[in-house]
């Protein structure tokens, strides 16, 4: 398959700050996940791929064409930016309708596409509310809708699942999976591994402006799984749970903190999460919260870079 998105030794500096360094990448039809911690260069790469920024060095090609100052390409590109910004004094419907009009559709066609896009992201009921009154999740869905409204062949989504509740995430994941049918291309970025895993097997790891690895998620997952994974858990009797956990072979370190907080490090994340429910039932615990600290992926990347 011919690559749809291509970069050749692409570099970008913001003054003295390196945003992207000699990135050569080929993205083919289907869903590709761009995974990296915050500040890795994901948004820079996406802005370069959508002609928002000019490369400092190297080339960007979309469907074989240069993207900078090539507005015709945007008939087939849908772009969902990362930042949470809108024309706040418009309603969701006015916003989408206006953007569809800018695509050159007639008023009637724009209205039809607007309704269809709103329905796709479950915003029909709120379409006539001002955007400034939308929740974070609604705003995120509206951003996805504006990228989908003109039925593009290529979808570039920068952190589209950020700020969504689990139901919203499921909805958007479903949308993206449906979209890839028909030989379409999706490039989606995230700093959360399970989000990317839910979308695709093809991932690109980016860190400090460089591509670390690209390919099937399972190989990369193995690398990541080999790295100790930190889990924080809040329950009514953390010491009892800690005493039980230290006997488990996959638990490397346990620490009991204040207010029922227990932090542990596991060498096998999947086994730990598979075993945890039975431990909770066995000890009759009341669990308030389970989380993986956000910087975990950063630690994984640091680990990968250091290997």
């Amino acid at each position: 398959m011919t690559p749809v998105l291509q970069t050749f030794k692409l570099s970008k500096w913001y003054g003295n700050i390196l945003g992207l360094s000699e990135v050569s990448l080929e993205v083919r039809p289907g869903v590709t996940g761009l995974l990296g911690p915050n500040g890795a260069g994901k948004s820079t790469l996406m802005k370069l791929l959508t002609g928002q920024l000019k490369p400092s060095l190297g080339r960007v090609r979309v469907s074989g064409q240069s993207v900078w100052n090539n507005p015709g390409l945007f008939r087939k590109i849908g772009y969902c930016p990362e930042h949470d910004s809108f024309y706040e004094d418009t309603t969701g419907r006015q916003f989408l309708w206006g953007l569809m009009r800018l695509h050159g559709f007639t008023a009637a066609e724009s209205a039809r596409r607007t309704e269809a896009a709103l329905a796709l992201v479950d915003l029909v009921e709120d379409k006539d509310r001002l955007i400034r009154g939308y929740s974070r999740g609604m705003r995120q869905r509206l951003k996805v809708a504006q990228a989908l409204g003109h039925d593009p062949d290529i979808l570039i989504l920068d952190e589209p699942l950020s700020g969504l509740d689990p139901l919203g995430k499921r909805k958007i994941i479903g949308l993206i999976k449906n979209f890839r049918a028909g030989n379409k291309t999706v490039l989606v970025s995230s700093h959360v591994l399970p989000e990317v895993e839910a979308l695709t097997r093809d991932i690109v790891l980016i860190h400090q402006g460089k591509i670390l690895a690209a390919g099937d998620i399972h190989g990369i997952r193995d690398l990541i799984d080999a790295h100790p994974h930190v889990v924080a858990l809040k329950c009514d009797r953390p010491r009892d749970l800690a005493a039980r956990l230290v006997r488990e072979p996959y638990v490397l370190k346990v620490q009991v903190g204040a207010e029922g907080l227990l932090t542990l490090e596991t060498g096998n994340r999947d086994v730990f999460f598979g075993r945890l429910p039975s431990l909770i039932v066995e000890l009759d615990l009341e669990v308030e919260e389970i989380s993986s600290p956000d910087d975990n992926l950063q630690a994984v990347f640091d680990y990968l870079v250091g290997r």
Binding site: K47, G51, Q52, N69, F74, R75, H83, T90, G98, H103
Partner: protein, 259 residues
Amino acid sequence: MRAAGRVAVFFLGLGGRSKRTKAFFVLSLVPLLLAVLIRLRPVLSPSPRGFSSVFYYSNVVLPVYVQFLVLMIALFYGTAIVMEEVEGRTLSYLLARPLPRPSLILGKFAASAALGLLMMNVGLLASFLVLRFERAGDPAEWLTVLRDMAVLDLSLLCYLALFTFLGTFVKRAVFFGLLFCFGWENVVAYFPGLTQKLAIAHYVKSLIPQPPGQAFSFLQLRLEPSPPLLSVLVLAGLTAVFLAAALVVFSRKEYVSAD
């Protein structure tokens, strides 16, 4: 041009709803309020001596437009054409549409001009009617107000183009615009000789007949007007040059938001 038209319609809709438009619409009615107060003055505070309504129109209402409102509307709308998209981080929505970059500037410029012209012309016409309604049947009076409206419109377009250009490449465009409006324009325009021709205000004032020299005549003290045709050509030429420069800069420059 069709793309620019679509952009203009989009931003007319947005601009009509914006807080800025509401604020400037209210501000543009200040001369009307002044006109009403002037008309009511004999009723509120009868005095044996007073100026004519012609005097107030030429020396109070018109200068408010020429020396303040035109500049403010042009400054805040012109600099916002690019900067509000960059600072509001909405530029990516526009750049991800099949629109040539120049059409974004042309369209937003047209929308801003339409809003500004509407505000000024409505305010000026209403002020004129309030001050001189007794002579509303006189065609010469209408010619006067139409000429004044045309001068204001031309000056608004010229300043708007200048500030659009400024907004394409200067980060603190409003600050520098204010310096220009109340520094350069209000100082240089009163320098003697050729120096005053370096201010846009010189050509605007050259198109407005000198008001009767009474209490406010110091404002026009040093004006050595250029011929009307030359003034129109200079204003139109500057508008075209600034707008073309804005299109070139915007087409070539990348805009990086603060994040």
